[in-house]
């Protein structure tokens, strides 16, 4: 199983949720991946790209082929593709291995330009997922039904998370909308000699300075945002792709 890789040119995207009715950027992300392929970037898909938890297989099968074709183009151009498993596609943990161009991993430790970077989906640091895994799984599946009928409901949840985080005492030290447990986990990982941490899962974009030049990044959800993380010879940046 691959968990250690070396890459000087890597892009990280997260939470595309293909198959989910709230995913609106499939076409743009495919264009973005084609551009990345032309520029020779390796790709890390940081979990929750295939929405297995909330939709039917038919819906998923309709959305996925174009994306898989874009991955094939990347692979054909010699770019490495890494897939870090998330909680919405946790079933893929049964396939942690190399599958042709795509390498499935539970997390990735990337060496780039002498820097150590940890890429992980981050659901293991979600207090709800950790404390009530069965309840979390049930609600994730159950909420798929109202979301199919009213995709706008997600905005309510997003606003609630942002509101809660606004009233937290240490709101300057965490990404808006996230519980503090993600920043704490990022701190914990830097103690183990990582220079930068990249999580996904929360769908909230941002970066946090962890001190001593170490940073925590979250590219948010590619299903409605344009953010991604670029790793270029050890330099890590949160960027947005062009429309």
């Amino acid at each position: 199983m691959i968990t250690q890789i070396q890459s000087d040119k890597l892009i990280v995207i997260s939470d595309l949720h293909l198959g989910n009715p709230i995913c609106r950027t499939k076409r743009q992300i495919i264009q973005f991946l084609n551009r990345a392929a032309n520029q020779g970037y390796d790709l890390c898909i940081n979990g929750d790209v295939f929405e297995v938890a909330q939709v039917s297989f038919h819906k998923l099968a309709k959305d996925v082929p174009d994306f898989l074709h874009a991955l094939k183009v990347l692979g054909d151009k010699g770019c490495n593709i890494y897939y870090v498993v998330g909680n919405h596609d946790i079933i893929l943990e049964n396939f942690l291995d190399e599958w042709g161009n795509i390498k499935l991993a539970p997390f990735l430790n990337v060496i780039s330009g002498g820097q150590r970077i940890r890429i992980e989906h981050g659901h293991l640091y979600d207090p709800l997922f950790v404390r009530y895994p069965l309840l979390y799984e049930f609600f994730t599946g159950f909420l798929g039904f109202p979301l199919r009928a009213f995709p706008g409901l997600y905005k309510v949840w997003d606003a609630f998370q942002r509101f809660s985080s606004y009233h937290r005492a240490n709101r300057d030290e965490v990404i808006t909308g996230e519980p503090p447990s993600f920043t704490i986990a990022a701190h914990e990982l830097t103690q183990r000699g990582f220079d930068h941490i990249i999580f996904g899962h929360t769908h909230h974009v941002g970066e946090v300075d962890l001190g001593n030049g170490k940073r925590y990044f979250n590219p948010g959800a590619s299903m409605f945002g344009r953010s991604y993380v670029e790793v270029l010879n050890g330099k890590v940046c949160l960027l947005e792709w062009d429309q």
Partner: protein, 185 residues
Amino acid sequence: MLTSKRSGAKSLVKNGFDRGKSIYRWIGNLILKNEDNRFAHELVLDFDDGETIFTEADEDREMYIVQSGEVKITKRFPSGEIYIATITRGDFVGEMALLESLPRSATAKAVGKTRLVVLQPGGLLLKIRRDPTFAFEMLQRLSHRIRDTNEQLFNALQRGISADAIQQIVQGSEFTSSQVSAPKP
């Protein structure tokens, strides 16, 4: 009159809201303060080049994660000191003493300026709970080390060391571990 009443009610609501907000923040601070204590960072130690971290047969039980720098592992033999491995950033050292409660089996020295995170026996499970992938990585690395050791044994076999001698080494290590794990009188 009506206006002043309204503004009075308004300011009352505003004061109440501000007070509620500050109480909310105070509780948040309190929880986070406790959380910070609960998630207190491990002890960090700095070593200069060549400084000894632990010596073979030492009785201490700490395990170390290399945050920066490198650690050289050597072992004493009748013929002299033999180099075993170099542990780099992100890897760990001293886990055998922590996991098996046995004296150190080798000596560890810092190479260059080295910073280590100290994990004590009482903190390992807490560490795994806070950082679950640490357990995964630890198992993965231990598995690599066993594979490397096996390869070295087979290489030794190919270089002419007899199968009997290797069998004796393997049996010897099994005998030692079962002997040590028996309860002491």
